[in-house]
Symmetry: C2
Subunit: 194 residues, 2 copies
C-alpha cells in the first residue's frame, strides 16, 4: 500500500509518500514541502497547494491520502488557513478517486513514537529511524507528513478490522431486533386467541 501523507498548511504544507508492506516494514518514496507566499491572497495560496498535491498524486500514484485532522486549540487565524488547506487536499484526493483518511496529531505521535504527547524532535527521530533515512527530513512539516503516512500504514489494517467488526455487530443487532419483534408478534397473537 502506498500512502501520501499530508501535513496541511498554507505557509508550509508537508508531503510524504511511504510504501507499506502490510507488516511494520515501511519505505520512504518521496518527501517535500509546498510553500506559498503570505503576500498572496488565501485563494491563490490554496491553488498553489492544490496544484502541487495534484502533481504528487500524478507522479507517485498513492492508493490512499492520509491527512492530519485539524484542531482549533491554537491560533484561530492559522487554524482556519490550515483547515482550508486540509479541505483542498481532501478535495484533490476525492477528485482523483482516492480514499482519504484523517488521523489526529496524537494518533500519529502514538503510532510512530508510542507516546501521544511526544514532541516534534521525537517524531522526527523515530521517522528517520523507522524509514532508515541517512538524515532527518526537514523541515518538521516534511517529517510530520512522513509520520502521517507511516501512521496510516500501521493503523489501516486495524481500522479495516474495526470497521468489519462494527458492520458484523450491526448486522447481528438487526437480526436480534427482528427476532425480538417476531417473538412480540407471536405473543400478541397468542394473547388474542385466549
Amino acid at each position: 500500500m502506498r500512502v501520501l501523507g499530508v501535513d496541511p498548511g498554507l505557509t508550509r504544507c508537508g508531503l510524504g509518500v511511504v510504501d507499506g508492506t502490510g507488516g511494520r516494514q515501511v519505505a520512504c518514496v518521496a518527501v517535500g514541502v509546498v510553500r506559498s507566499g503570505i503576500d498572496l491572497p488565501v485563494d491563490r495560496r490554496l491553488l498553489v497547494v492544490a496544484t502541487e498535491v495534484e502533481r504528487w498524486i500524478a507522479r507517485h500514484r498513492p492508493d490512499v491520502v492520509a491527512i492530519e485532522r485539524v484542531f482549533s486549540q491554537h491560533n484561530v487565524r492559522t487554524v482556519m488557513g490550515t483547515a482550508q488547506a486540509s479541505g483542498v487536499v481532501a478535495l484533490v484526493a476525492a477528485k482523483a478517486g482516492l480514499p482519504v483518511a484523517f488521523h489526529t496529531p496524537s494518533e500519529v505521535k502514538a503510532a510512530v513514537t508510542g507516546a501521544g504527547r511526544a514532541d516534534k524532535a521525537q517524531v522526527t527521530t523515530m521517522v528517520t529511524r523507522v524509514l532508515g533515512l541517512a538524515e532527518a527530513p526537514k523541515p518538521a512539516d516534511a517529517a510530520d507528513a512522513l509520520a502521517l503516512a507511516i501512521c496510516h500504514c500501521w493503523r489501516a489494517p486495524m481500522m479495516a478490522r474495526m470497521a468489519e467488526a462494527e458492520k458484523r455487530a450491526s448486522e447481528l443487532a438487526k437480526v436480534h431486533k427482528a427476532k425480538l419483534a417476531a417473538l412480540q408478534r407471536e405473543r400478541l397473537a397468542a394473547a388474542r386467541k385466549r
Copy 2:
C-alpha cells in the same frame, strides 16, 4: 458587477448570485443551496460542494466570489467542516480565475441591516426587501448567501478606495523616508567637513 455569494458549509452550503449596478441597486439572479449527506466521508462531501460551485460559476459567470469568513467560536467540529468547505469554494474560484473576497458575518449583517448583531430573521427580511423578492429565500443559508453578495456589491467600491488610499499612503511614506535618509546623509557629510 455580478457577485456569487457563498455561505460555506457541508450539510448546507448557501449560494446566491446578485447583480450590482455600482449604486445601491441590486438584483437577484439565482439562489439555492447545496446539500451533502452526513453519511458521506468529508472528502466526498467537499467534492459535492466543489462540483456544484463549479456549475454555478459556469452557468452564471460571476465577476467575483464573496465567501463568509469562518470564525471558530462555535462548535469545533462544525467549524472545521465549514472552514474546509470555504477553502474548497475559494479554490474553485481561483481555478476559474475569479477574485475572491471574504466578509465576516458582522460585516454582512452591518451592510445589509445596518446592525452588526442583527439576527437571522432580520437579515432575511432585509435581503427580501432589498432584492424586491416576492417571498423570503429559504433556507437561512440561501438568504445568507444573498446577503453576502449584496454586502460585497456595496462594500467593494469602498474596499477599492481604501486599497487605493493605503497604496498612496505607503508610497508617500516611502518618499518621506527617502527624504529623511537624504537629510541624514547631508548632515553627516556636513559634520565630517567641520
